[in-house]
């Protein structure tokens, strides 16, 4: 191994007094060599992000600061060098890309101006030269029509394009080190695969050392040369990718890897032929623009659901998979009548729910319930957990005492302490809140549970627990479930049958195992090919 680019020794990052733990990062040692991708893996709160920010001198000072240790970069220690020198290094020798490409770019500046700044602050170049370099960069990261992209504002580009622009900006001055903080987490899987490929391509071309922060072992398997695992601020294991992924030593690493859902679909279960819910030719379009006397510019029409037909059999889990904008959430919301579909039938048993009015719908509400994606936003922060859960039955006419007893029972079913009844949602962790959300849906005794990305906001170990819980409950209560997800690994472990959606249309349906073995539609094939780490633990 050549001399390391970066040597982190005994790094301590202190948190403000009164935090859960004194150090966000504690006694961490790490080396990064040129032309190497080092993945730092960990769950939320493991300190992986703060460690990467410490390298850049981007800690939210003065509350969070480096208390001890050194970060050697060449002859210098990044912890102690003056701010002016650190500014020179940032953006030229060490640069960074972030998770959320929308908020990480200034919304009111063109892409061209934002790239131009990097040149202006680090090099002496003429305006024309800077422009040419910037266009060249945008071309390198494969943005279509670089000259037009220069003039574009961030909101005019897609998520993947924005991340490409970010990468172009970070690589503008050919840095020795690139720090990537969850750069693909906010992207769709096919876009993620492209961005990972791009990062790898750029890194090989420029011999860059990459510090890649992620929570996703699939991504690690695809991209890492070496891996370091962090837990609670400490680095518990480090080694080459092959060692850590295939032969983990530390129990925490073993647990994490164990929690990653396998891509091999689970054995199909015996199924009843009787459908409990049928969706026939469901159509929903969103319109915007147009309007007053035709002066409103062109009207934009989005077909969020186009002629969607689905069948949910008794006791099974039907997965709807697709990327963002595929219409999978719209279909779910139409089914539970949170939004109104224009056409089609939603047959629950023999009743068509679609044309029912508010009052006529109410008795059917209890039979079909929903679990939402974001456990933080979907519970009213000013209402106690007990009230959140018991509100449903009380509205349905169940006496208060009975509703309370049922609520307490369900809290136990979803694995929460009964004392949760009198607490507020903010006192719970993400996984616990999702359990509350599930209890809220189950208390009404539904026949059909619609779960919209119920685990995508959770850490992988919590995700495994929630999936296990959903499985148990489905068995125990003979539920039928519609499970919306973008994650094919999760789909493989949860769903009996799959429906693949793109642009509002169902492109393929069938038993999960069959679709994984022999995908017929090209889009399904593309989705399967893009799953990160598919060659690792695929079998």
């Amino acid at each position: 191994m050549s001399a390391p680019l970066l040597e982190i020794r005994d790094l301590h990052v202190a948190l403000p007094a009164g935090s859960e733990r004194p150090y966000a990062v504690e006694a961490v040692n790490a080396d990064l060599a040129p032309n190497e991708i080092l993945c730092i893996v960990g769950e939320s709160g493991s300190g992986k992000s703060l460690m990467s920010r410490a390298v850049m001198g981007l800690l939210p000072k003065p509350h969070v600061h480096v208390a001890k240790g050194s970060i050697r970069f060449g002859e210098e220690d990044l912890v102690t060098i003056p701010d002016a020198r650190l500014r020179q290094i940032r953006g030229s020798d060490i640069s960074m890309i972030f998770q959320e490409p929308m908020t990480a770019l200034n919304p009111v500046m063109t892409i061209g101006d934002q790239i131009d700044e990097v040149f202006r602050f680090h090099e002496k170049m003429s305006r024309r030269e800077r422009r040419e370099r910037a266009i060249g960069l945008l071309d390198d990261v494969h943005l279509p029509d670089p000259a037009a992209s220069m003039r574009a504002y961030p909101h005019e580009l897609s998520g993947g394009q924005r991340q490409r622009a970010m990468i172009a900006m970070a690589l503008a001055l050919d840095p020795k080190i690139l720090i990537a903080d969850e750069p693909t987490t906010a992207l769709d899987v096919t876009t993620q695969a492209q961005i990972l490929k791009l990062i790898k391509e750029m890194q090989e071309k420029h011999d860059t050392g990459v510090l890649f922060i992620t929570h996703d072992f699939g991504v690690v398997a695809d991209i890492a040369d070496r891996v370091a695992v962090m837990q609670g601020g400490q680095m518990v294991e480090a080694g080459t990718a092959a060692e850590v992924l295939n032969n983990p030593q530390h129990p925490y690493t073993q647990r994490l890897i164990e929690a990653v859902p396998s891509l091999t679909p689970r054995p199909p279960r015996v199924q009843a032929a009787k459908p409990v819910l049928e969706v026939k030719n469901l159509t929903k379009t969103f319109r915007s623009g147009g309007g007053f006397l035709g002066f409103g510019g062109e009207e934009r029409i989005v077909h969020a659901a186009k002629d969607v037909t689905l069948e949910l059999r008794h006791g099974e889990t039907l997965g709807i998979v697709g990327e963002s904008g595929s219409g999978k959430s719209t279909v779910a919301r139409c089914i539970v009548r949170l939004i109104e579909a224009e056409e089609g039938k939603i047959l629950l048993g023999d009743t068509d729910l679609r044309p029912l009015g508010r009052a006529a719908m109410r008795p059917h509400r209890a039979r079909i319930q929903m679990v939402f994606q974001d456990p933080f936003a979907s519970l009213n922060p000013r209402t106690k957990v007990g009230a959140i859960i018991s509100q449903g039955p009380i509205i349905q006419g169940v006496p208060r005492e009975e509703a309370e007893a049922k609520t307490r029972e369900l809290l136990k079913v979803v694995g929460l302490d009964e004392r949760a009844y009198d607490r507020y949602p903010h006192e719970f962790s993400g996984g616990q809140r999702q359990r509350i959300g599930i209890a809220r849906a189950l208390v009404l005794g539904p026949d059909v549970l619609v779960a919209d990305e119920p685990v995508s906001a959770l850490d992988v170990s919590i995700q495994a627990q929630i999936l296990r819980l959903l499985d148990e409950i489905r068995e125990r209560m003979t539920l039928s479930m519609i499970f919306i997800t973008h994650d094919l690994r999760v789909a493989a472990q949860v769903c009996d049958r799959l429906a693949v959606m793109r642009y509002g249309e169902v492109v393929e349906t069938g038993p999960t195992a069959e679709i994984f073995r022999d995908p017929r539609h090209e889009y399904t094939r593309a989705l399967l090919a893009a799953v990160p780490g598919k060659d690792w633990r695929a079998g």
């Binding site: 850049m56 981007l58 030229s92 200034n106 009111v108 700044e117 900006m169 409103g296």
Partner: protein, 330 residues
């Protein structure tokens, strides 16, 4: 379509949309004013004393006040559409002439007030935010709090006492010196008007200045915590560049929105200030017209104010769309 063509189309659309809005305002105003007790004839008769009911009925017939309300409204609307705002019995002048005469002083006062309040509000908010929790921040916050809490008319009176009477720096009232009473655009004249404008403008803008200062400070602090600021820092930019180029432009957006909304309120505030400083504007005219039950004149003033608010809102929206590219002008 190019950005300019889009913008033109947008302005045209907004102007067309304004027509029904303004007509609605005219109708609502008309009914509101007729719900009030008494009319111009009552006031005229009261002032003249000893008017017989026959004479009053004759006057009403002459002014068209004896017609049923819908007919009066119809006649009024027809006149408005042909730019005839009627005749002021009180001032014995056509309303249009009277109102246009008083329009320019009010516009002058409004524009200078907005510029002062927004301009200084932004600067003070910026200074407070960049020196967070230092003496500068504290001082500006105290200043904003005090001006925010002080009534307009009292500030006006105190300014007159201190700066006009005791120090003699500025004139106490009016818009021009009587000696220089002519309407030419001579340098001396402009200087004279500007001299008279200082105290009313400062008085009227103080309250808004405080508001924009606080808003700007909060907005700067909010924006400073955004991800793109971290990106800018990671690019190696200086703190000054980050503050004045990246954060400032984003932080301006809420202030501009707020200023746009408050233009209407500003006309209300100008009634007080114009009365205190005897500024010959619409506010003063409205005040007099109200007590003389000069409904035609009041309606004219309301119409003009409504047009003014609609126009200023349009201007603010256009400024906003050039500040924030995410707002599409289509």
């Amino acid at each position: 379509m190019s950005r300019t063509a889009k913008r033109l189309r947008y302005v045209l659309k907004r102007l067309l949309q304004a027509i029904p809005i303004v007509l609605m305002i005219v109708v609502v105003n008309f009914f509101l004013l007729h719900m009030a007790e008494g009319d111009a004839v009552d006031v005229l008769a009261g002032e003249a004393g000893s008017a017989t009911p026959e004479y009053m009925a004759e006057l009403r017939a002459k002014f068209g006040l004896d017609q049923p309300l819908p007919v009066q409204l119809f006649v009024y609307l027809k006149n408005v559409l042909s730019f005839d705002l009627g005749y002021s019995f009180r001032h014995e002048m056509p309303v249009l002439e009277l109102v246009m005469d008083r329009f320019w002083p009010t516009l002058l006062l409004m524009v200078s007030t907005i510029l002062l309040a927004v301009g200084f509000g932004i600067v003070l908010g910026l200074l407070a935010a960049t020196g967070l929790n230092t003496w500068r921040d504290t001082l500006i916050s105290i200043f904003a709090l005090v001006t925010y809490a002080t009534p307009l008319f009292w500030v006006g009176l105190m300014f007159i006492v201190i700066f006009a009477l005791n120090l003699g720096w500025f004139p106490t009232s009016g818009m021009k010196n009587v000696a220089a009473f002519n309407d030419t655009w001579s340098w001396a004249n402009i200087k004279d008007v500007a001299h008279h404008l200082v105290l009313p403008t400062i008085t009227l803008s103080l309250f808004y200045l405080a508001l924009y200062t606080r808003l700007m400070r909060a907005s700067m602090l909010e924006q400073a915590g955004m991800d793109y600021v971290t990106t800018a820092r990671a690019k190696g930019l200086t703190e000054n560049r980050i503050m004045f180029v990246h954060v400032l432009r984003n932080a301006l957006l809420p202030v501009v929105t707020m200023a746009g909304v408050q233009v209407g309120a500003l006309i209300g505030g100008s009634v007080i200030v114009e009365s205190v400083f005897a500024w010959p504007g619409l506010g003063m005219l409205a005040f007099e017209a109200l007590f003389a039950r000069d409904l035609n004149l009041l309606l004219g003033i309301f119409l003009l104010s409504a047009l003014l608010v609609v126009a200023v809102n349009l201007v603010v929206d256009i400024i906003y769309s050039s500040l924030d590219p995410r707002i599409e002008v289509s």
